[in-house]
Amino acid sequence: MTSLPQSTNKKLGLVIDLDTCVGCHACVVNCKEWNTSGYGTALSDQDPYGANPTGAWLNRIHTFEIVPDNSSNKPKGQGVGEVIGTAGEARVVHFPKSCLHCEDAPCVTVCPTGASYKRPEDGIVLVDEDKCIGCGLCAWSCAYGAREMDLAAGVMKKCTLCIDRIYNEELEEIDRQPACVRTCPAGARHFGDFADPQSNVSLLVAERGGFDLMPEQNNKPVNKYLPPRPRSDLGEGTQFSVPENDTKGADGLLGWIDRALSGSSKQKGAS
């Protein structure tokens, strides 16, 4: 049934820390590695070693650059001199993106066959691949680009929150979390239950001001993102604008070298 559940017992999802992500793509690769042999059909690639390789991936990292106009946008409660960005200095943010397991998931309601569904017990959005006709409408309805068609199998693929890991008692307890979270070397991804206000993810969101992507699309995403932390104002230390040839005030040995070299270059220039 593609109608959404009224509410879910748990709200499992991810917190992604845009401050600590270093953009190494380890989560991207491990996601593909685990999921190509896990839930559903393999994640196929087309022309993988050719000139125009493409393929289905469930997690992608975009990298954005933001150059602030001014340094005055100091966040509240930060140390002296800490700013979110220095005017004219780019802040580079690596931006991992996978399914956000929305509470009001349009990808579920548009599905004509009932293949797309949201689990009432934990809120995970899944595709029953045996029912999927590969019409692609769910991918059209997703603002985040979280769904990609597998062109070999003709069915829609998406993040399962590694449903075959998180409940898998064959695995050591430390491994019972999504592959992307387990593999992240920077600790930029966190997995937990947002329905529990005392869970690790709920506390992180409260502490760091976790936010929704595209709130105006009214999808109520479960996954949250943590903003980049403020940092020291780079000030003029980063300005590499000392005028060339300005050697005023040089004295001692440096002054002598300056005078000696200036003299010789003048002579050279004159000859």
Binding site: N52, R60, I66, R91, I133, C135, G145, Q217
Partner: protein, 315 residues
């Protein structure tokens, strides 16, 4: 959005088929006349060819029957259901005309309503998507319905209508001129809104949540080559030639049919040639216009790939 030929054929052909069936179901055409019998077959053929072509873009068409199950939430499913439901009155009406030379007005009204509801469901598949701001408006079902009615009327006059030169033919032609102008007027309002709305309320800043730092720009794409998302949602060619194609659509879909219909009133001996050309020209215009409907649509996911800046045609 990628303009899939199968989906464009489906929406234009089945739209015209339902338009023609709508006209016939309201009792036009003598049920005993051969032209009416052929018209019913033509309407059902257009509808069926349209629906069959729509299954061509599916990854697993053999499971398409499952698509009738989710009518409670999905407009695509509702459309599938309405397609099957409307076959009942339309096939009965066609059978009555073909085998018994008869017609039933009550059944006709049921059939006409089914035609309108099915076209409405098709349009709502697109209009219900919040991700594509230009589609997410009541104008979308508005122009789908208007074009279907106009196509149906023009095809009826040209191929199955009352005899050339008769008073009723003249009325039909005046009526179709009104439909023509009205449907393109609706499309004009749709296009004007589409141009203004862009990505709607979404921006690269809301997509990333980083707007408090400053203006966001894509520094590095997540993948070097295209993927399903960029191929499907970020179609470039349509943008590049949009203006030219829009003029072609208006020429074929509005200007030429109006001139041809006027000529058919003036030169009655060959009036049928003009009305036939008018119908075909209109269909061609709608086809180009439907191509643009997809090709120029901006999907919110484009914002993660740099928005319009990245989608501008690479000359």
């Amino acid at each position: 959005m990628h303009p899939a030929l199968s989906v464009i054929s489906f929406t234009t052909l089945s739209g015209a088929g339902y338009g023609l069936a709508f006209v016939l179901a309201l009792g036009h055409g003598n049920p005993a006349a051969l032209s009416t019998k052929i018209a019913w077959v033509a309407a059902l053929a257009l509808i069926s060819i349209g629906f069959l072509s729509s299954t061509l873009h599916l990854g697993n068409p053999q499971r398409a029957w499952r698509a009738v199950s989710q009518w409670r939430s999905s407009w695509l499913s509702r459309e599938g259901c309405m397609c099957f439901i409307s076959y009942v009155p339309l096939c009965l009406l066609a059978g009555m005309s073909i085998f018994y030379d008869s017609f039933d007005l009550t059944l006709g009204y049921v059939g006409a309503i089914c035609c309108a509801v099915t076209v409405y469901c098709t349009a709502m598949i697109y209009a219900s998507l919040r991700t594509i701001a230009s589609w997410h408006t009541a104008w979308t079902p508005g122009f789908y319905l208007a074009f279907a009615l106009t196509a149906g009327t023009l095809i009826y006059i040209a191929f199955f209508g009352p005899p050339v030169g008769s008073r009723s033919t003249q009325i039909w032609i005046y009526l179709s001129l009104v439909f023509l102008v009205a449907s393109w007027a609706i499309k004009h309002f749709w296009a004007r809104r589409a141009q203004a709305v862009g990505y709607g309320k979404s921006t690269m800043e809301t997509a990333t949540g980083l707007g408090h730092i400053g203006k966001v720009r894509l520094l590095e794409s997540p993948h070097a080559m295209g993927n399903y998302l960029t191929n499907e949602m970020a179609f470039r060619i349509g943008r590049k030639h949009a203006l030219k194609l829009h003029k072609i659509a208006l020429l074929l879909g509005l200007a030429l049919p109006v001139v041809l219909l006027a000529l058919s009133l003036a030169i009655t001996p060959v009036a049928l040639v003009f009305t036939m050309l008018a119908a075909l020209s209109f269909m061609a215009g709608v086809f180009v216009d439907r191509w643009l409907f997809f090709a120029t649509a901006r999907h919110a996911v484009g914002l993660y790939y740099g928005g319009d800046e990245a989608l501008m045609p690479a000359d």
